[in-house]
């Protein structure tokens, strides 16, 4: 039986990934867009010899700050945004209803889509970090890689759970295609991803601090900061992200619907 569950998860994850890679919008917004943004931000707004940014007890080079911030944004796009749109489309088109009529085991379905997130997040975050190191002189300590993996994994779990939870309020794929990307852009602004937190009004920083993206960005920035050693883990950041993960999972488990939410005649 365990073999059969393993096969179910693997097969579903593989085809979920295949569908993603055959969808041009997913490839552009999930993979190309964060890379282009990093190149633009680090070319336009930050120079190699700019003074370090100082916040939350950290001292970090602007190029490294942007690299970590864009990695956090990429995590959100590949999890939250991607799952809101995918799950709502699958539900609206009746594919979820069709799956529900088979012996499919529900947890293998969710696990497969989380695995898809893990693979895509891993690929994009690794690409951004390599780009930072190669093109922007980011200093990546060996121990910090462990910290980045932990933050990215926890961020993936939290934002994936929230993405599935939000499908409760997105009746159609059109709504999901607006809510998913818009929420990511909006949060990126107040989380210091597009504009450094040192330049944001305190009120906006406080708003951003409520949500997980700010803590994921700060966590990844901690890993790349000059004055941090070891894994670079911070209890507050980890706890806030974990809290959102539990909230998202609880809402998702209660509200997930397999049937289309709009009548089709």
């Amino acid at each position: 039986m365990a073999g059969s569950y393993g096969r179910q998860v693997r097969t579903q994850a593989r085809y979920a990934l295949v569908v993603n890679l055959r969808t041009p919008q997913s490839l552009f917004f999930g993979i190309a867009f964060p890379i282009i943004l990093l190149l633009l931000f680090n070319s336009i707004f930050a120079g190699a010899h700019d003074a370090n940014l100082r916040f939350a007890g950290l001292s970090i080079a602007p190029h490294a700050y942007n690299t970590a911030g864009m990695a956090a944004y990429a995590v959100m796009v590949q999890t939250f945004t991607s799952l809101v749109i995918t799950m709502t489309s699958l539900r609206e088109s009746g594919q979820l209803k069709r799956l529900r009529g088979t012996p499919l085991v529900a947890w293998t379905f969710v696990t497969a889509y989380i695995l898809r997130c893990v693979v895509l997040v891993g690929a994009v975050v690794a690409t951004l970090m390599v780009l930072g190191v190669v093109a922007f002189d980011v200093h990546l300590r060996a121990a910090a890689i462990g910290g980045i993996v932990i933050y990215a994994a926890l961020g993936t779990a939290a934002l994936a759970a929230l993405g599935i939870a939000v499908t409760a309020i997105t009746p159609t794929a059109d709504v999901a295609s607006a809510v998913g990307p818009f929420a990511a852009v909006l949060l990126a602004f107040v989380s210091g991803v597009f504009i450094p937190v040192t330049q944001l009004p305190q009120g906006l920083v406080d708003v951003g601090d409520v949500f997980p993206l700010a803590h994921l960005a700060t966590g990844l920035q901690r890993c790349l900061a000059d004055n941090v050693s070891g894994l670079g883990l911070d209890a507050t950041d980890l706890l806030v992200i974990a809290g959102w993960m539990l909230l998202g999972a609880a809402i998702a488990a209660r509200t997930f619907k397999w049937e289309p939410q709009t009548s089709r005649g």
Binding site: S4, T11, Q12, V18, Q95, R98, R100, G101, T102, V105
Partner: protein
């Protein structure tokens, strides 16, 4: 629970608020039988089939599908039924064989993919994405997905609605193939010819009730021996004919028809009258009632009788 019954339903009711969609359905389907649910839109066909499929709850009544209450679907029960819903609900960017491999992974003992593809006649299309198939091919891919778990019972909800004649014929051939495999098939349709062609037995649903249940010939044969006589002479040129025939004329556009219990006698009366009155009976025709006539008669109190598919 009798072993040779695939489906048994008694006293099934379904209420949506004030509206009663199913008003006490009694039904039995034997294993290996192909049953067609026929009814106008909104008669309750989809509600009934979705209760049997385990998608909807019921308000009252007893239901057994392959010996299991579909309100409490189990995984092993799902292994034994195959579903084709109203529209094609498959990912358009996956290919035929990718889609089948995906669904096959849900079953403990799936039917080999190549065999399923052959059964639905999609050889040569294995590598084509669903989005690039024609409507009929996509429907057959849909049937293939329902077959991949090698189910005992297959539900087909309006399998050919909106299809052109070629696509309908292709899908019919596939469904005929299921019959040969000995599968029990429940299909809904609002096409008379589809039910007559595919089903061993037809249940006609009107306003949440089964108003007729039997082999197509028997339903038609409720008026066995009777015939419908029609001709293209407007009814207003036929003063006095009703009294002569002792029956009601049914005008329909330029055509007039009447039912005759004894066609030979009726034709004699009709032609004698026409000769005497010097009325021409263009396009004079005598035919046995079809399933469509029986259907229209049985569902005539419904405002929306759907279209007849031709």
């Amino acid at each position: 629970m009798s072993g040779d019954l695939a489906v048994s339903v008694s006293g099934l009711r379904k209420r949506y608020g004030e509206f009663e969609a199913l008003k006490g359905i009694d039904l039995e389907v034997r294993r290996g039988e192909v049953l067609g649910f026929l009814g106008p839109n909104g008669a309750g066909k989809t509600t009934l089939i979705e209760i049997l499929e385990g998608y909807r709850s019921r308000s009252a009544g007893a239901v057994r599908v392959l010996g299991v209450d579909p309100a409490k679907p189990t995984r092993s029960w799902r292994e034994r039924i195959g579903l084709v819903l109203q529209e094609c609900e498959l990912d358009p960017v996956l290919t035929v064989s990718e889609t089948l491999k995906l669904f096959a992974s849900f079953y403990d003992r799936p039917r080999p993919i190549a065999e399923v593809i052959r059964l639905v006649g999609l050889e040569g299309k294995e590598g084509a994405r669903l989005a690039r198939l024609s409507g009929g091919q996509r429907r057959r891919a849909d049937v293939a997905v329902a077959l991949v778990g090698d189910p005992d019972l297959i539900f087909l909800d309006e399998p050919t609605t909106g299809f052109d004649p070629t696509a309908r014929r292709e899908t019919w051939n596939t469904i005929d193939g299921l019959k040969q495999l000995g599968k029990t098939v429940l299909l809904t349709t609002h096409y008379m010819d589809e039910a007559q062609h595919l089903a061993d037995r037809v249940a006609i649903i009107r306003s949440g009730e089964i108003v007729a249940d039997g082999p197509p010939d028997q339903i038609v044969g409720a008026s066995q021996g009777r015939a419908i006589v029609s001709f293209r002479t407007p009814a207003d040129a036929l003063d006095g004919l009703e009294a002569e025939l002792e029956t009601r004329l049914q005008p329909s556009g330029a055509q007039t028809s009447f039912e005759a219990a004894d066609p030979q006698q009726a034709l004699l009366v009709l032609t004698t009258w026409a000769d005497r009155e010097n009325v021409r009976l263009d396009g004079l025709e005598v035919r046995r009632p079809s399933l469509e006539d029986a259907f229209l008669e049985l569902t005539s109190s419904d405002a929306d009788a759907g279209d007849d598919g031709r």
